[in-house]
Amino acid sequence: MRQLPSLLLLLVLSACVFASSDYHEQLVLKPLHPSLLLASFNFQSKTSWASFEQQNFRYFPRSLGQILQHANTRELHLRFSLGRWDAESWGARPWGGTREGGTGVELWAWVEADTDEEAEGRWLTLTNALSGLFCASLNFIDSTRTTRPVMSFQPAEQYSNSSSENLHLLHGTLPREVVCTENLTPFLKLLPCKGKAGISSLLDGHKLFDASWQSMSIDVTPVCVPGTSECQLQITHTIDMVLDIQRSKRPRDNPIPRPVANEDLKCDTSKPYHSHDTCYPLDTSAQEEDWSLSQIFGHSMKGSCPLANDGTDQVCINVPHARNVFASSGAAEHKDESGYSRCYEVPADQDFELALPQQEISEKVPIEQPLLYAERSFIGYGQERGGVQAILTNPSLIDAVDFVYMESLPWFMKLYLHTLKAKISNGNGKSSKDDVIQEMYYQPALDRKRGTQLEVRILIPANSTVILTYDFEKAILRYTEYPPDANRGFDIAPAVITIGNDISIRTTTLLLPLPTPDFSMPYNVIILTSTVMALGFGSVLNLLVRRFVGVDEAEKWDLRAIRFKVAAMVAALVRKFRRRRDHTE
């Protein structure tokens, strides 16, 4: 009898989980300084495990679901990114960096398989199928670009022991892939409201790929009620972008920036040299730009998606309460208590517009400081004296940071592990040789089969900087292994830094110039061989076959005779021409 109330509670809990709507979407707008806007689109759909297994799809996209079933994938994370997140000006990354990937395409998944080879085969199926679905060259993620990280990624669900043995984590990156509108279109097709209503109607390829930084991500994770085996499969689509307000306000049909007219220049009149032909730009950091949704995104939002009916407001904007924000009629505004955010409930059938006028305001939304600043670059020079340097800074004055730094290098970048050095320097200028590297996992490369995988767990004390350096050597590639535009170089995947379970930072990609061969060599070989054969063979044959006679006995090419012949021919032609002319006249 005592079990009954707890059972009832469990039932109520599970009912709550499943009674919540299967779909919800939200847009969060956050102005960054200066004159930038971070827009975060988030869409979430759920489907019960039973209907997923029976292949009855409602909000979950069928094409993706079938791929996951065919490749026996439990959990999938796919990222498309472009641009660089400026952590010093913009603060911490949105979602803690968990919804973004390195430049290009990044994919990691937990695949169910009994053996490693089977897992590789299923991974290959997965990448090929996803490449067709998203119009991206994911099929180039082969064994040379795939690693199995040990410390860096954790599954969203802690699976029960029985199933975790045959789950393999595989991670692949394609830093050279250029993300563009052809990747956005299949992304929109996976959403239930398809870019026709709700916040997805604001997504436009032209504006999205004009951003300073943008990232599209898809996460498919199982969500289970704790304690039971009732599970749902949740798919989260996220698009984040940092838009330049000035650039977005330029009209679509006239995108070339033109010089501002003299009268519109904002000049600092307090300067002594200010006159009609000299202008020092006014510091507008205290002033907020004016912008509106239709100026930034090209058109206003077309109502709301009726499927999202769980009561959350669809559009939120993070500005101080003192900022004036005008919303279209019909939208209900809810300000929240923290003082820095307000949300709007969008009516279903009316267009929604948000406009912020220009305003002088001193209060700013506090920027969240990131836990770690990371930078990576090349040092050294030449074929054998290359090196990589990663500068990791802990800005906090009190807390130490414990993180995992993962590098996945291609096989032609030959890392020398014994040269891995970690130098730590305090904010006060002191440098110590404390052991910063706690744990290391290293898998060396196999030529043309597998790349290098390096995972290092580092503990940085408060207010310190760690500089990780290691040397590498470049290998010489075969003639056919160079990509088109070989002289550009090869892209090296970004380093992935994982802090705890929910924060992740990525550095930029690096461009490694490799010496290129002379691609015209086959032609040169043919020409050279032919010349040698002609000269050598011809000379030898002539020596053997020709008869040697005295100079005066030889048959000569008679120059005077040739001259006579040529003169005769020319005279004959001239006579013929004259005769014809006489005839016609």
């Binding site: 199928a129 032919s530 054969m533 063979f537 044959l541 008869r547 005066d552």
Partner: protein, 532 residues
Amino acid sequence: MPDGTVATTDAIEHVRISDQAAPANAVQARKEPPPEKPDQIRIRNLVLLSFWAIIVFLGLPIWWKTTAIYRARLPLNDMMDWAEGRACRPVFPLRISIEADSLQDYEARHLLRMTQHALDDLNDFSAHHLRLQLSPSTNASFGASGISTGNTDEEVALTIRLLKGDTFQANLQKYSPILDIYYTPIQVPSISISSSSLGTFIASTLRQLFAEEQAMIAYLFSTSSAPPERSPKALAPNVAESLAKWRIRSTKYSRTHHLTFSLFAPSATPSSWDIEAALEEHMKPLLESFSAISNFTIDTQVQLYATPGVSGNILKREDLSGFINAAEWPLSPSIGGAPTINFIVYVGDMEVEGGGKSWLIPQWGGVVIQSDVKDLRPAMLIFSNQLMSLLGAPESGSLPLRLMTLVRVRSAGLLLKASGTMGSLARLTLALPSISIPRSVADGVYTTLSHLRKACDGLGGKEGLENARIAEEAAEKAFFEKSMVGQVYFPDEHKVAVYMPLLGPMGVPLVMGVLKEFKAWRKRRRVAAGAR
């Protein structure tokens, strides 16, 4: 001056007339070199001969061998035999067993003979004939698929039960292959009467039942590229036309099919439908009856904000194929390689010109337009019919008979297709001597031929269908082998560009040397002949 010009003109004329004389006239006569010793001439000839000998006996064979293309041996004669219908005479002997419990043994046998005579007289298509047999009375049992297993090993296409009744009629059962023939007792023939009306009645009923199947098989034979030797029966033009439509409509045979049921709505509602229950109740039983022939996997999806490719309330016939908005509607084929059949329910109230609200798209699927998706039963019924048409089943007859007809017709089709492909492959290898034929093509051809032989020997049953399917698959794989075609498009200019710079400078002195020696030899002979 005039003299000079005249003189030069004369000289020029002289030059024009005979240019042989010019060198001799224009310059001093040159000193003739001493005549060559015959030894030297011999050595020179030997040198040239040895160069040419090396080229012809060593160089040419090595070049020939190293640039030869690997062409595996194919049994071209066998392939052409199959292609022209000489290797196989496809016959579909259908066994029909008669249960005549109420008759005496000798009466039953007599009836059998009468009916068989009548059948043979009426039949004009020798590839498809019906063989009657007497089934042992009470031991016949019916398996779950409706095919009588009885005591015989082979499958029985139909069982005829002779039952006493008031009138003379035939009644085909709906869910099992049994034909009930009612007769009045006086109709049983006695041995003295040579023909009986019961026999002819049975024969004509049977012929009617199997007429469509015969027509289908005859059509396949007559339109295949590998017609069997005997001339197939001629078909009436309207029958031939409807069979041509049947062939365009039906999908390719495959062991597995994917069925996708999609709901498309132009706005956000309705966003869910009770498809699972509807499929369970109306579709799954049909699909289970197909389990001997193909497996089916089903998936369903809901797509909102879907605008069709054509707008308007009345859809003309030409608009029907454009209704599916292929650019925006995610109807990509299911992963896994098997063919996909799409069934679409569109929520709207447009209708087709002429009044219908559903149509079939050949080899692709079907569309039903409904404005309310609470009741899916009518849509499911339409889809079942469309599925049967798309799979190529005949339209008349009971379900078990249609399924068995489908098996036989598909076997015939696959057999003919595989034979045709063999012929095409043989003609291809003969017509293009420059393409390579890898080992895998030869293996595929041998597999195909062996399975074709097995299929031909066992036509009419499930084994025949399986063998024919394997044969067709292997034939297609062998014909479309990727590496075969690679050499066809190799540009000849590349060959010239590589050979000329190498062989040109070598060849020219050799050829010129031979020519000069030949001219010198001829001159010597003329001089020698003149001296004699």
